[in-house]
Amino acid sequence: MTHIVIDPITRIEGHLKIEVVVEDGQVKDARSSGTLFRGIELILRGRDPRDAQLITQRICGVCPIAHAMASTLCLDSAFGTVAKIPDNGRIIRNLIFGSNFIQSHILHFYHLTALDYVDIAQLVNYEGGEAMLESIKAFIGRGQPGPFLPRYEGDYRLPPKVNQQAVAHYVEALAARRKAHEMLAIFGGKMPHQVGIVPGGVTQGPTIDKIAAFLWRLNELRDFISHIYIPDVLAVAQVYSDYFEIGAGCGNFLSYGVFDLDGSEADLTKRDRLLKGGLCSTDLVAHPLHPSKIREEVRHSWYADSSSGRHPSQGATEPQPGKPGGYSWLKSPRYEGQACEVGPLARMLVNYAAGNAAVRELVDSALSTLGAPPTALASVLGRHAARALECKLVADAMADWVLQLKPDAPAYVEYELPVEAEGMGLTDAPRGAIGHWISIKNGVIANYQAVVPTTWNCSPRDDRDQPGPVEQALIGTRVKDKENPFEIVRIVRSFDPCLACAIH
């Protein structure tokens, strides 16, 4: 019996420790542990409610828009503006949010994931003469190849030419994700931590020059997604195809839906969205989602047991470091007592189950290219494929939305700050379902709770000792080489963990 502890898990956002027990080459037990607590929910108390969407963005610098949107929808619901946002405001919010989806997914595949599959060191043999690859060769030749070495060894399988191309694409992707943020800033002001999304709409309406500037950066990115990102995912999938049978996870999928197509419905779970919300399991039968059934449990988290099992609208954050039985700063969100996976795979499956034609076409086509059955989707590679396909879907939709903007129409609606109100904001971030809940008393924030995507995915065991989704994905995995446990890190990274988010 061997304990493998990987702390820190690198190439994610934030601080995560993974511990597995391996017996006879197979993972028998797994623990996912978040190792940094900041207490943003506590910091929000007593503040002007309007500040929530700026402060909660600082929960995470990779996906601040997720928080800006969840918080702003939450404030809109508390301020009475949630069904009154003018179309320009709704569309610009979608464009800002979508730009970060594109950035986040490209960053994830190339800069967080790729080094598990792509061998940069091989470039020392490059003879092709192309300037950029020659510069990589020179860099390795200088003898200080950090941060690309050291690393696990023994399982880099891409053929040399494919590998070379992947390295070139890693570098191209650095520019692509930077451009996605530039595109975002056209309407968001700056990125990270944009300033455009506010309760009531957005700070600045569209102008014709912004529309054109945005559209052409978007077209460049759509090109990258279709001709570089998706083909690279498929190329890796074909060579590492055993990973369609590794990392299945809990098999329950949850999404609130994302990208409002119509802003007139006050109930966010009934709102028409590009990707709809709901639940499904691997049977691909769609079920509606009722946010009232969400609870956060803390038996194995470093929070007071007395605060366990509450709905987030009544939630509390009472840190208790060193609490016996606790092993993580993440709480355990559960839906009707079930652990649920969230993220691009959940969105694709929930929408596939609901009969979304565009999603079905994209997913079926990819499965057919790979010769993989639908059951293959709940896996390491299924997650990477879902993320890439979703990236294309979102980018293509954005090209339509930007042309729906009307330069002379309003982008913002005024409101009165309430003295007392409750609010809830639900949307889906690049990494999955995100919800913010607020309670306003005497005109200030009395309570604020966030349940964030990675909180679901990397949660520890709940009050019934049921492991969280990543823990379940690890249990049962065969580990070939305990000194180089590729399987473990490939599984964990397929979830695209964001720990600053998860704990907040």
């Binding site: 820190p8 898990i9 190439r11 503040r47 500040d51 601040p64 941060p147 930077r178 800033a185 455009g196």
Partner: protein, 295 residues
């Protein structure tokens, strides 16, 4: 004969952070992040980023080993970049960087041991420079700045603060370029908060394109109105940064350019003194404000 490249090893430590500073540096347009990581950033000089949890290939103890090897083998010869504030409450239990021999390595301990042996330290972002968001009231985890952490441990390693939430990538790459070309900044190059004057020497207010509106007393009353954003909460008059000149994200836009008020994110007072963000600055002596209302 080719000249040997001079290597500048860098350890990038993430403490109580959101990674926004790292993402902002990835957004560097010129030099690109590829230029910074892979190329000789300036002729004959390579910035050798060996430890950075967000991008490095190594996981787990292998990664911690890289960090410890640098502190031991390159003592006095590496640059330490700290992103995020340092949680000190309860002996640093609220934040660990990793694990060594079955024990958590706390952020407090990492900053102390790496800071002590560094050639110089850059506190990147407002959290590292001043405490920032996690140190905001009620500061549940006892977060402090790198400067305060160094003072508490008697560490005298040269320190440069490059604040911002996040900082503009140019402020970081420009500070690195200064070190490569001219060595560490002299005390005159930095203000009282150890911020490079070249980037933080002037107020937003001094260079704001809406300054004429302010001087004429034309204030926007609600979002979308023309005019100065002072009454909508702009903290430009007390915020030292060159955003109006440099703009953000390769020049496409900036905060006030997007009709949003400046929230003072480079200041020691961010967020507690510069918020509420959408409420007018109170009790501040700004030239001309009193003059207008006295007319």
């Amino acid at each position: 004969m080719a000249k040997m490249t001079q290597e500048y090893p860098v350890v990038w430590l993430q403490c109580a952070a959101c990674s926004g500073c790292a993402v902002s540096v990835l957004n560097s347009a010129s030099p690109s992040i590829k230029n910074v990581l892979v190329d000789e950033l300036l002729p004959g000089k390579h910035v050798n980023l060996r430890f950075h949890p967000t991008v490095m290939a190594a996981s787990g103890e292998m990664a911690i080993q890289v960090m410890e090897d640098m502190a031991r083998d390159l003592a006095g010869g590496y640059l330490l970049v700290v992103e995020g504030a340092i949680p000190t409450a309860m002996d640093g239990v609220y934040g660990s960087v990793g694990e060594r021999n079955g024990q958590p390595v706390s952020m407090v301990e990492c900053v102390r041991s790496l800071g002590q042996r560094a050639l110089a330290t850059i506190a990147l972002g407002t959290c590292a420079a001043f405490g920032g968001i996690p140190a905001a009231k009620p500061n549940p985890t006892g977060c402090i700045s790198v400067r305060d952490a160094f003072a508490a441990h008697g560490i005298t390693t040269p320190l440069i603060n490059v604040p911002g939430c996040p900082p503009h990538p140019d402020w970081f790459t420009g500070t690195i370029a200064h070190i490569l070309l001219q060595g560490l900044p002299s005390p005159d190059d930095l203000d009282e908060h150890l911020r490079p004057r070249i980037f933080y020497g002037q107020l937003i207010h001094e260079n704001c394109p809406r300054r004429a509106y302010f001087d004429e007393g034309k204030f926007a009353k609600k979002l979308g109105d023309e005019g100065c954003l002072y009454e909508l909460g702009c903290k430009g008059p007390i915020t030292h940064a060159d955003c109006p000149l440099r703009h953000w994200n390769n020049g496409v836009n900036w905060v006030i350019g997007n009709h949003a008020p400046c929230n003072g994110c480079v200041e020691p007072g961010f967020p507690d003194i510069t918020s509420p963000f959408y409420q007018k600055l109170q009790d501040v002596n700004i030239p001309r404000i009193g003059e207008y209302w006295q007319k």
